[in-house]
Structure formats: C-alpha cells, structure tokens
C-alpha cells in the first residue's frame, strides 16, 4: 500500500470518529456561553480534543493494521501517531496556509488583469462573476489538492514506520475482525445499546443543565422591537383636520388657476402684437409649453400628480 493510501486509510476514519465527540464538546461550550472558536473556548476545545484524537487514531490505526495489513498493532499506537502527527502539523499546516493563500491571492490578481482586457469588459455581471470564480478557484483547488496529497504522504510515512514495529498476524480474517470488534465494542449487543443510550441521556441532561443558566432566553439575536404606542384615532378630529386641509388646498388651486389665466391672457396679448413678426417660429413652441394649455387641465394635472404622493404620506 502506498504512503498516500496508508495515510488516508488511517486519517480519514480517525477524523470522522473524532468529529462527534468534538461536536459534543463544542455544543456543551456553546450551552455554557463559551464560543468554541474564540479565545478561552477555542483553547479549551483544542485541549479536550487531544485525548479524543489519540483515541480516534488508535481505533482507526488498529483497524488498518489488523484488517488491511494483517499486523498485530504495537502498544501505544494511537499516542505515537498523535504526537508524531502533531509535530508534522506544527510545520506543515502554517507552511500550507502560506502557500495556499499566496496561490489564491496570485490567481485573483492574474484573473483581475485578464478581465480588464477590452474584449472582456463588456461581460454581463452574472457571467463575469462565474468566469472570475472559476478562473481563480481552479489553481487554488489544484494547490489545495497537492497540499493534501503531500500531507497524506508524510502522515502515511509516519504510519509506515510503525508497521516495522508490528508483528505479522497469522489469524484468519474473521478472527481478526472479532479481535477488532472486541477491542472497542462489547460482545453483548444490548449492553452496547444501553451504554450508548445512557451516554446520550447523560449528555442531554448536562446540556439542559448548562443551558437555562447561561443561555439568554430568547436567543441574543432575537431582540424585541420597542413597541410604538399609536395615539387613538378620534374620527371627529380627523374629519375636521381633513376638511381644513381640503379647504386650504381649494384656495391654493383657485389661486393657481387665476394666476394661470392671467398669464394666458397676457401671453395672448403679446402674441397678437408679435404675430406678424414671428408667424412660423412661435406656434410649435407655444403648443408644447405647459403655460399655453387651458387653465383647467393644468390644475387637474397638478391634482392628479399630487394625489398618490399624498396618500403615500398619510400611510
């Protein structure tokens, strides 16, 4: 088995075996009011994860040793793989982070330059977004894949070193499976289910014991809006106010109409005088001018324009 395959065979199930226990811790931290991705919460979660990771690595590595390699797993296999893997991560993960982020930044810069080409400037927004995303994410994804393969190769190499210390097993496959089962699952079926159920009940009790004390109810995101007190509607007052407004509006409209009529008269006089001088020029302009329209229609237009706005305001 290649180092990459060996690394994957141990790391992948170990990761998934550890995840539920880590989520339990994260959830308990959340219920206790500590954010597991910030300061004390994060430190606590990382510390709690150490024994979980050792256990998960032990379970998955023993399975691989027994089932796939037909080897008797050496003592302290999980612990050895954990500390050697931790050393690898200490060097590899920051390095990988720097390489990946610089690849992403470089790819984004190149893509931005490409999209500045005159030919591509006219791309519609939706198309532009997808093209840009594909162009920078492909090199970033390839680099990430290479980094993952590199990590698996190195971790597989660590696992391979442990196989040297293991002795070959000449037992049948079924016997190995039974040995593996007995290592972690009790032979008694109801006992396993009872233990699992009891652990669940215990965790639920712990969860609810934490939560009402530390978690605000309702959730902190649900802030109630301040209740606005609406003054009671008095129909008589509203009617009086509206009548006043209508009377004022009528006066204003009348004034506008009178003004428009006077202006129209004055214009008609001026037009009579200058008719001989500008026979052809004047007519078109006058027809287009709102002042030249009949006074009544002008006022109606003002009313019609104002009506929806006014209703909108009242709403």
């Amino acid at each position: 088995m290649s180092s990459v395959k060996l690394g994957l065979a141990v790391a992948w199930p170990a990761f998934w075996t550890a995840v539920p226990a880590k989520i339990v811790f994260a959830l308990l931290l959340l219920a206790a009011g500590l954010h597991p991705w910030e300061e004390a919460g994060l430190v606590l979660l990382l510390l709690l994860s150490i024994p979980v990771d050792i256990w998960a690595l032990s379970v998955s590595a023993r399975t691989v040793f027994l089932e796939r390699l037909r080897l008797q797993p050496p003592d302290q296999l999980g612990l050895t793989l954990w500390w050697q893997g931790a050393l690898l991560n200490l060097v590899y993960l920051p390095l990988g982070y720097v390489i990946e982020s610089s690849t992403k930044a470089g790819a984004k810069a190149v893509v931005e330059k490409i999209l500045e080409i005159e030919l591509l400037k006219g791309l519609p927004v939706a198309e532009r977004i997808s093209v840009e995303l594909v162009l920078w994410s492909v090199p970033s994804a390839v680099m990430l894949l290479l980094l993952v393969l590199g990590w698996l190769f190195l971790f597989g190499w660590i696992v391979r070193r442990q196989t040297a210390a293991a002795r070959a097993s000449d037992e049948s496959y079924q016997a190995l499976v039974k040995q593996w089962d007995l290592m972690r699952v009790p032979a008694d079926q109801p006992l396993l289910l009872a233990v699992f159920a009891a652990s669940g009940v215990g965790l639920v009790l712990l969860f609810w014991a934490f939560m009402p004390v530390t978690t605000p109810h309702p959730h902190e995101l649900y802030q109630k809006e301040a209740v606005k007190v609406v003054p009671p509607v008095k129909p008589a007052e509203v009617l009086q106010k509206t009548e006043k407004l209508i009377a004022q509006a009528e006066v204003a409209v009348q004034a506008l109409e009178e003004k428009a009529q006077e202006e129209a008269k004055a214009q008609a006089k001026g037009k009579g005088k200058g008719q001989g001088q500008a026979k052809d020029k004047g007519t078109g302009k006058e027809a287009a001018s709102p002042k030249a329209q009949p006074a009544g229609s002008d006022a109606k237009a003002v009313k019609a324009e104002k009506a929806p706005a006014a209703t909108g305001q009242t709403k």
Partner: protein
C-alpha cells in the same frame, strides 16, 4: 438468580410470542453487508434519522404555529420569543431541512459513484429519485410557512418558474397559489402539503425503498473479487450500526450547533411589495436562480429552458440511467463518462451557488 424470568423478560417474551420481536431484531441486525461495513454506507440511515427528527420538531412547532395569513408570522414570532427554547426548535427544524438536502445529494452521489443503481437495483434508484423530489418539495413548501418577506418572495419566484412548464405549469401554479398572488389559500395549501401529503408520501416511499433494498441486498464495494467480498462480508450489527450511530450523532450535533450559532431570524412580515428585499430562493435552489440570470437564458424561452427544461431533462436522464447504462462494470474509475459527468454537475452546482452568493453583494 433462581432461573426464573423477571418481569421485563416476561413482557418481552409475551410480545415476542405475538409479534415475533426476536425474528424482527435478527432480520434487522443480522443483514449481511458484502465486503464489510463502510462509512460510505451511512447516508441512508442518517437520512432516516434526520427525517424522524424533522417530524418530531415539526410536530412540536405545530402546537404553536397558526397557518393563516393573519397569524402565521405572529405565531412564528411567538415561537421564537415566548415559547421556551422555541427558537432552538425552529432553528433545528430549519437547519435539519438543509441537512436533509445535503444528505440526499451525498446519498445519491454515493449510489451513482458505486454503480449501485445497476441491475438488479433499478427500482431502488427510481424510488430514491422520487424521494429526492419529495425532499426538495418539503424544503419548498416549508419555506413559505413563517410568512415573512423571504418566504413570500422565494415562493413567488418558485411558483413563477413552475408556471413556465408547458401544459401543466399554469395549472400547478394556479393550484399552489389559489389566487392571483400568494395569500391565505397559498399558505393553507402549502401547509397541508408540507404536514400531511409529503410526510405520508415520504413514509410510504421510504418503506418501499427499504423493502426493495432488502430484497435486492446491498451492492457492496465496486472493487474486489467475489471471493474477497465473501471473506470480508459482515453483519449489519455491530460494525455498520456503530458507524451509522456515529454519523447520526455527528449530524445531530452539527444541526444543534448551527441552530445555536445561526438561529433563524425572520424578516419583515410578508407583503406584495418587495421593498429593498431582493427575492431569492433557499440556498439549494440558488444555482438554478443564478443560471436564470445568465444572458443566454434571457427572455421567455431562455427562462423556460434554464428553469424548467434543463432541470427536468436532467431528472429524466437520471431516471433512465439504469436502463441506458447496462454495462455491469461498477468501478467508477473504469466508467470515465460517469465520473466526468458527476464532476461537471457537482462543480457546476458549486460554481453557480457561489456566484449567486457573490451576486448578492452586487445587488446589496
């Protein structure tokens, strides 16, 4: 101690005599798994678990929810603000629906990549596809129930897309809306479909799916000779049960964490005026929504093509897959068309979903 059965044992023996409890237990737990247990086989069990949890949380929410246009929003607010940990139940139900969609995609991908849809498992695949449709319908109908702007406009957009289907589109749209614009009739119909029709259909089809699965038996891994598979064959209990339990616990705890970190926040109450809100569907329909924004799909015909024709043609292709692909080879690395096709579909969905999220920033 004295060899006499205790009360519990007597009760179990009583029930067993009449129901055949021990036979049932043996049938359920001692199912042979060719090639042994795998993490890749957990998705089906996890889906069943999520559905049960959705049913439980859904029933609890129904104790307080009022399915009327006048009270839906207020009752959802009541659940969030007044009911003890109602916000947690509602948020669990919300994130549970997303988890179900993710698991359906994972399950279908696993079956496709493992070639487990091939003879003699065609019926399992077809019923599975119908279940996929039901899960999407659950998400779509449930989205309207809180009756906020997001719910109202996502439904409006969804129904408009359905309306573009030839012949039946108009009928479906009118039936779902129950009027010219979404209102009380729409809410009533979506509620009934969400809490009565879909759960009943899902339970029936899930039972059928399991029956066909037990009848045909698990497909097992796509690599290895029949002798190797026989040697590695294991029973469902304890190894696969253990893996299923671990996966269920992981999913349950993830949904709980999401409910804590990102609880459901309602927008303004639904109105026929979108205001500043840019209507968009739930995240699992975003890729389709983004496709509709592309210029090549502009116009009435283009919208029909992207919104109705392409997705339905794709579903039809999936349904016909076991009958088109008759090659017994199951190893995905020896089925290049299937592998490349799956990669294109997955990357396409991912790219368009991400693009829709980036596009949101442009609109805001």
């Amino acid at each position: 101690m004295n060899g006499q059965p205790n009360v519990l044992e007597k009760i179990i023996a009583f029930v067993d005599e009449r129901v055949g409890l021990k036979t049932l237990q043996a049938k359920m737990l001692n199912e042979p798994v060719p090639g042994g247990s795998r993490w890749a086989y957990v998705f089906g069990s996890v889906l069943l678990f999520i559905f049960i949890m959705q049913a439980v949380t859904g029933i609890l929410l129904m104790f307080y929810y009022v399915p009327s246009a006048d009270h839906a929003y207020a009752s959802t607010q009541y659940i969030i603000h007044e009911v003890d940990y109602g916000w947690f139940l509602l948020s669990y139900h919300f994130w549970g629906s997303s988890a179900m969609v993710v698991m359906v995609f994972a399950h279908m991908s696993q079956v496709f990549l493992w070639g487990a849809y091939k003879k003699p498992r065609e019926m399992i695949w077809l019923v599975g596809l119908a279940l996929f449709g039901l899960v999407m319908a659950f998400g779509f109908t449930g989205y309207l129930l809180p009756w906020d702007q997001r719910a109202y406009w996502a439904t409006t957009v969804g129904v408009e897309i359905m309306d573009k289907t030839p012949i039946v589109g108009d009928f479906i749209a009118r039936f779902l809306k129950g009027g010219p614009t979404p209102g009380q009739m729409t809410l009533s119909r979506f509620f009934v479909i969400h809490v009565m029709i879909l759960p009943a259909a899902l339970m029936g089809l899930a039972g059928l799916h399991l029956f066909f699965f037990r009848k045909a038996g698990p497909a097992g891994p796509f690599r290895g000779s029949s002798e190797e598979l026989k040697a590695k064959t294991d029973y469902f209990f304890p190894r696969q049960v253990w893996k299923d339990m671990v996966a269920m616990a992981a999913v349950f705890l993830t949904i709980c964490s999401l409910a804590f970190i990102e609880p459901v926040v309602l927008l303004e109450e639904a109105t026929p005026d979108p205001g500043d809100y840019h209507p968009e569907p739930e995240w699992y329909f975003l890729f389709l929504f983004q496709m509709l924004r592309l210029k090549i799909f502009a116009g009435e015909f283009g919208q029909f093509l992207a919104g109705v024709a392409i997705p339905n043609a794709f579903l039809l292709l999936l349904a016909a897959l076991p009958f088109i692909d008759r090659n017994p080879e199951r190893n995905i690395f020896k089925r290049p068309i299937a592998l490349v096709g799956w990669l294109i579909v997955m990357i396409g969905i991912l790219v368009f979903t991400m693009s829709a999220i980036i596009n949101r920033e442009f609109l805001d």
